[in-house]
Chain length 232, copies 2
């Protein structure tokens, strides 16, 4: 690979429930075949109308939603809940988001982010003949390290994990690192041009390796089975 480019898509309109994201992206004139599109959860949740009314005067009114969206509470501290969502993600407050939505609303995660990614991919191919991979990203915390990073919560047309088993390192030894979380690294890379306060919801990653093409889903391939997880 000679270079990877990460390009923000600026100037997209605010997304409203029912909006045609495929048309919005297909018409923006910036996307080429073989691009990887990274789309934030927020606009997917809005377009899919995953919005819930909450009491705008009660800072805790989304908390019952967190419990409802969770299947397993891992930790609580004060108002913070770390839980496993019904989709299988482990994150704070079940991924429910209060920023970049109207006051009095909360945005839930998409029902099935892999399917959302697949629909976008299929729509851009069908209506615009654009052959792109799609990653849906969200911003999660993690143990042990401060700060948040963007990770993938859905994908289509790309291998969620690069499996290097059997490959050799530069000195001919079998690789110790065998599985790279490709879509998470791409989601983090895309966040760098989105700028949380600039509100850019889509980025293009251009120049990726042909080996990255593939099928699979975040939920099936990237989420660790709770029984294999040392921290659940």
């Amino acid at each position: 690979m000679t270079r990877l480019e990460i390009l923000p898509i600026e100037g997209l309109p605010e997304v409203e429930p029912g909006d045609d994201l495929i048309g919005m992206l297909g018409d923006c004139g910036k996307i080429k075949s073989l691009d990887i599109l990274v789309v934030t959860q927020k606009i997917i949740s809005k377009a899919e109308n995953q919005l819930v009314e909450i009491d705008p005067n009660d800072a805790l009114s989304h908390k019952p939603l967190v419990e409802k969206e969770s299947v397993r509470i891992l930790r609580r501290r004060g108002e913070l809940i770390i839980s496993e969502t019904k989709h299988g993600f482990v994150c704070a407050n079940a991924g429910i988001d209060l920023s970049n939505v109207e006051r009095g609303q909360a945005a839930l995660l998409p029902e099935d982010s892999d399917r959302s990614a697949q629909r976008l991919r299929d729509g851009l191919k069908g209506r615009y003949d654009l052959d792109v991979a799609v990653i849906i990203s969200d911003t999660f915390g993690r143990p042990w390290r401060r700060g948040l990073t963007d990770v993938a919560i859905g994908s289509a047309g790309i291998s969620p994990i690069l499996d290097l088993r059997g490959e050799r390192d530069a000195l001919g030894r079998e690789m110790q690192v065998t599985e790279v979380a490709l879509v998470d690294e791409l989601a983090s890379a895309a966040e760098l041009v989105m700028g949380k306060s600039a509100g850019i919801p889509v980025a293009i990653i251009r120049g990726g390796d042909a080996e990255w093409n593939g099928e699979g889903s975040v939920r099936e391939d990237l989420l660790r089975d709770p029984k294999d997880d040392l921290f659940r």
Copy 2:
């Protein structure tokens, strides 16, 4: 920001203990002022001679080293140990690496990766008048999600965390996400062009935001204090 570029530095020689990394990078002709250099732990550990002899015929001969480099064992399963290293990192096998080193050797983490980053930054400035930020990266696993991602274990000339507190989102609401783990996202982005089996140990990130400039260190700013950590 209009675009971010990620460029692998190809053609660097194998690094040996005592090698002059500053000279190697300064002479490669590819680095410009304002670039962010992401350098893998492996070549830092090699140049700083953090290599230890192990029995090449005993697959477990590095295990006593893992215990020695750790201050707290978090989990064990079979041969896998997740521990907190003496530097404060939580990772598998205390970050000790057997790939891309000679048979019979193991590479320990650098003694102080932030200082290693600072030395590289200062050296490139002093000897080549190149004003770059430096991130030392390593490949770590994480709970809940399969696969590994590259994260920062040291940095210089860049804010490890972007603090967005007080900033407003696109709809004027105060930001919910307040701290972005900038150097971890940059480390992940750089990994995408390094290719584990290609053995490219340094990447350039070009086009970064001027707001990213800053001081601070990974150990001081990015590692969560164990007493604030819900999973330790």
